[in-house]
């Protein structure tokens, strides 16, 4: 039997046709396609055990307890913590983005030093330490020659930093400007109140919110949202622009921020005859006399541009509420006038809402463990803006900016004053505008990479204390421990050997186990200070309210900021996922929209989508016109948080910074500054 060429071809043909009747070619094709998806350089989703750990997130501005889901060692998502009184299961846009932000290309991962040409070069931690030793040894020879600004007013790290500062012959320790400071000025310094103001939102049945957005970015906004959702609370809102609070409000009224106190006093004027048990309040007669005389509803309605019926309706609702609470705040945290806050505190006192269920609470100040540290109240008493505007900052040799970004969030004139400081150090987890202005940048560990604590964020209803444990590996030292090391090198004894021990001591003070706290337990205390000596009215207070606010010329409009937490914070920049939720009607291209009321458009002969130049004494920005019924007349609303100098794809080329055109205004009687608005001129381009 022979097997010739022809037989071979027949065999091959039979084999080829036979193969088609088997899974071989089809399976092989399928497998090859799958194999090509699994080449070694194609990234894989890490696999591992799913588990959850508790932490505290401070990135969004106000701290709250959260749960971080892990797969193996990798954090994957963040969720709210139902057991935490500042979360109730809620989480904010910054928290949702927190894990993605951890991998941001703009993270600061190593100390950086600015060279003579202005370029940033990587240096070691030892080099950073040596630079600081040299600078601080020289600077401490003169009194008050070192300035420290802390962006975190809840952490015990402030004790370590301020203790070192006092040992270095300086008491120039400040919190970054916020409404917490404005409330301190209004309550503790003007009204002679005790403790720190909190809001018992959970137990209130009616909130009258003036100016601020308590459900998006102001005070404990995550807890506020959840408390509102879980309880039967009615909300009314009065402010210069509609926001997240106004959309859930039963009644919303649009009034300029500078007129909010007038509206509130006009409401008091309506209910003046229904007030009970007010005779014992110090200054009540003078106050009622002033309200009767100066805040007649008809007159005020005309002045602030609303109907008298609006004032009467709000008065009626305030009177009908069993547990009302009036909350006033700035549209841009810390940047608004103090008098709206002062007015709200006076009216809350008048309605007997101090330390009452669902009212204002007077929270005791946090304990101080380190002898040389400044107390929380001492720090609140220091006003950064007042200081830098009064002093020659050229005389300050060294400044630290800890997790704050003044070169983005403060008006240009204040930034210029800070620029004049000799040597500037920025401590930040992410490269910000302030980092680029500083001579030395120190990486601050990200929230999962560090041990940190949190005492009573502003707006909490009662004193609370939480601890965030170190949840993922971090090669860099914690900043408080770095400063303890720095103190040791400077031969300064701060009275503590590690930040962990400071937190342990504080835990003992609260009678809480450290191990429970790092696992997510929140200590909470419903003990309040009794403010015996509150005086709601005197000559000084009257003068504060008699001062004129921003006066507009006929060709001018008032600039108002639109704040949305989804855009991020001054410290985080625009968040990675937020690029998907910043809509076209917020940022059509590299320019933003200027929101203008239709009547104002008509007055200035403007049409929608026209490009305009907005000029103030501070600067200019360009924007497209957007018709918006939800903004007060004679004003323009511009989204805050754009125009970043952070060099990554999430931030570059997106709009302009509205703060660049805001002006620093002064409340003369209080000697306080505010910058939440400015007078602007509009020009078509």
């Amino acid at each position: 039997m022979t097997f010739d060429r022809r037989d071979f071809l027949k065999f091959a043909a039979g084999g080829a046709i036979g193969t088609l009747f088997t899974p071989l070619p089809w399976k092989l094709l399928d497998d090859i396609s799958i194999w090509s998806q699994n080449w070694s350089w194609i990234p894989r989703v890490p696999k591992g055990n799913f588990h959850t750990k508790n932490t505290v997130i401070k990135l969004g501005g106000s701290a709250y307890g959260a749960k971080v889901n892990f797969v193996g060692k990798n954090p994957i998502t963040v969720a709210g913590n139902k057991e935490h009184p500042l979360s109730y299961g809620g989480v904010d846009p910054v928290g949702i983005n927190a894990i993605a932000l951890m991998y941001s290309p703009s993270r600061v991962t190593t100390p950086l030093k600015k060279d003579t040409k202005g370029n940033l070069t990587k240096i070691s931690w030892d080099d950073a330490l040596n630079i600081l030793i040299e600078k601080l040894e020289g600077a401490s020879k003169k009194h008050n020659n070192i300035l420290f600004v802390s962006g975190d007013d809840t952490s015990s790290a402030n004790e370590i930093f301020s203790a070192l500062l006092t040992k270095l012959n300086s008491t120039l320790y400040f919190y970054a400007p916020s409404d917490r400071h404005k409330y301190f000025v209004a309550w503790n310094k003007i009204l002679n109140g005790w403790g720190e103001i909190g809001f018992d939102i959970e137990n209130s049945d009616y909130l009258l919110v003036l100016g601020c957005d308590i459900f998006d970015n102001w005070s404990t906004y995550v807890r506020n949202q959840m408390a509102f959702g879980n309880n039967n609370i009615e909300v009314d809102y009065v402010g210069p622009i509609l926001n997240h609070t106004s959309v859930v409000a039963k009644h919303a009224l649009i009034i300029s921020e500078k007129d909010l106190y007038k509206f509130l006093f006009a409401v008091v004027n309506v209910i003046i005859n229904h007030l009970d048990n007010v005779s014992s309040i110090t200054g009540i007669e003078d106050f009622l006399g002033s309200v009767t005389f100066n805040y007649n509803p008809q007159k005020i309605a005309k002045e602030i541009g609303c109907d008298v019926s609006d004032i009467k309706n709000f008065a009626k609702r305030l009177l009908m509420a069993k547990r009302p609470l009036i909350i006033a705040g700035s549209t841009i945290d810390g940047g608004g006038p103090t008098k709206n806050i002062l007015a709200a505190l006076i009216v809350n006192t008048l309605l007997d809402r101090i330390n009452k269920k669902g009212g204002i609470t007077c929270i005791p100040n946090p304990p101080k463990i380190l002898n040389n540290a400044l107390s929380h109240q001492e720090i609140l008493n220091n006003d950064l803006i007042k200081f830098i505007m009064k002093q020659n900052t050229k005389n300050i040799d060294v400044a630290f900016f800890y997790e704050t970004n003044p070169f983005f969030e403060l008006p240009i004139i204040a930034r210029k004053k800070l620029q004049e400081i000799g040597f500037k150090v920025c401590i930040s987890p992410i490269m910000t505008e302030s980092c680029y202005e500083c001579d030395l940048i120190i990486p601050s560990p990200y929230f999962l990479e560090r041990l940190d604590d949190c005492f009573t964020p502003f707006g909490s209803g009662a004193a609370n204390y939480s601890v965030a444990n170190l949840l993922i590996e971090n090669k860099n030292p914690s900043i408080p421990d770095f400063f303890i090391n720095l103190a040791n090198k400077l031969k300064i004894d701060l009275g503590i050997d590690s930040f962990e021990n400071l937190i342990k001591t504080k835990s003992e003070y609260f009678g809480e186990k450290y191990d429970s706290l790092i696992q997510g337990k929140c200590w909470i205390d419903y003990t309040f200070e009794t403010p015996y000596s509150v005086k709601i009215w005197n000559r000084k207070i009257e003068n504060i309210f008699n001062e004129n606010g921003l006066k507009l010329q006929s060709d001018e409009v008032e600039v108002t900021c639109i704040i949305k937490r989804k855009v991020g914070t001054s410290l985080t920049g625009i968040l990675p996922f937020s690029n998907n939720v910043i809509y076209e009607d917020e940022l059509p291209d590299k320019y933003m929209y200027a929101h203008i009321h239709p009547a104002t458009l008509e007055k200035f002969h403007l049409k929608e989508n026209e490009k305009i130049l907005i000029s103030t004494n501070s600067g200019q920005i360009k924007a497209y016109v957007k018709e918006d019924n939800g903004i007060v007349r004679d004003s323009i609303g511009i989204l805050y948080g754009m125009g970043r100098k952070i060099k990554d794809k999430f931030n570059e080329g997106k709009g302009e910074n509205v703060v660049d055109i805001l002006e620093l205004n002064r409340e003369d009687t209080l000697n306080n500054f505010y910058w939440s608005n400015a007078r602007a001129k509009l020009q078509k381009i």
């Binding site: 043909a13 039979g14 084999g15 046709i17 036979g18 088997t22 071989l24 497998d31």
Partner: protein, 177 residues
């Protein structure tokens, strides 16, 4: 006639050879047979706990817990209970060393497939998974040498067929996010 018959035989031989290779030799070459790290009796555990969901449960947020971790197993097996060799391996090698068991997953899906167990909870587990609950032994794990996936892995056409039969959308984004 003889010439024609002899000319057909090589073709037939090639055809049958191809069938044998394609249906029997190829599947045995492409899949490797692998043992699990140790034997686990689903039957014995099902008798103890009563239901699959005692160990394979939905979390509070609706996500599926999958295979229990060592910490969960150690709540009963911190020390050996039965003295069975496989249990001894588990306690000695994994519980005491706090090491996760590298189970070979019969139904592993690619990273780009989003499969929600809770959306499919009305179907019995055995619709998709081997019926291991009645067995004292784990099935042999057959891994495709080319792709790295188990032979049990559900292919996309099966997902699509079931979706079509149950009038569920077969749009890409339903499974691929």
């Amino acid at each position: 006639m003889k010439q024609g018959s002899s000319s057909f035989k090589p073709f037939l031989f090639g055809f049958i050879t191809a069938l044998i290779i394609g249906w029997w030799i190829f599947p045995n070459i492409i899949f490797s047979k692998q043992e699990q790290p140790f034997n686990f009796s689903h039957k014995a555990h099902l008798n103890q706990v009563g239901d699959c969901s005692a160990c394979h449960y939905f979390r509070e947020d609706g996500s599926f817990s999958g295979i229990p971790d060592v910490e969960s197993c150690a709540s009963c097996h911190y020390d050996t209970i039965t003295g069975i060799p496989d249990e001894k391996i588990f306690v000695k090698e994994y519980v005491k060393k706090n090491k996760e068991v590298p189970w070979k997953i019969y139904q592993k899906q690619p990273d780009n497939v989003y499969f929600s167990h809770i959306a499919h909870q009305r179907f019995p587990c055995t619709t998709c998974h081997p019926d291991v609950g009645k067995s004292n032994h784990m099935p042999i794990y057959r891994e495709n040498k080319l792709t790295g996936y188990s032979s049990y892995t559900m292919k996309m056409y099966k997902c699509e067929r079931c979706h079509a039969q149950n009038h569920v959308s077969n749009a890409c984004y339903v499974c691929h996010k």
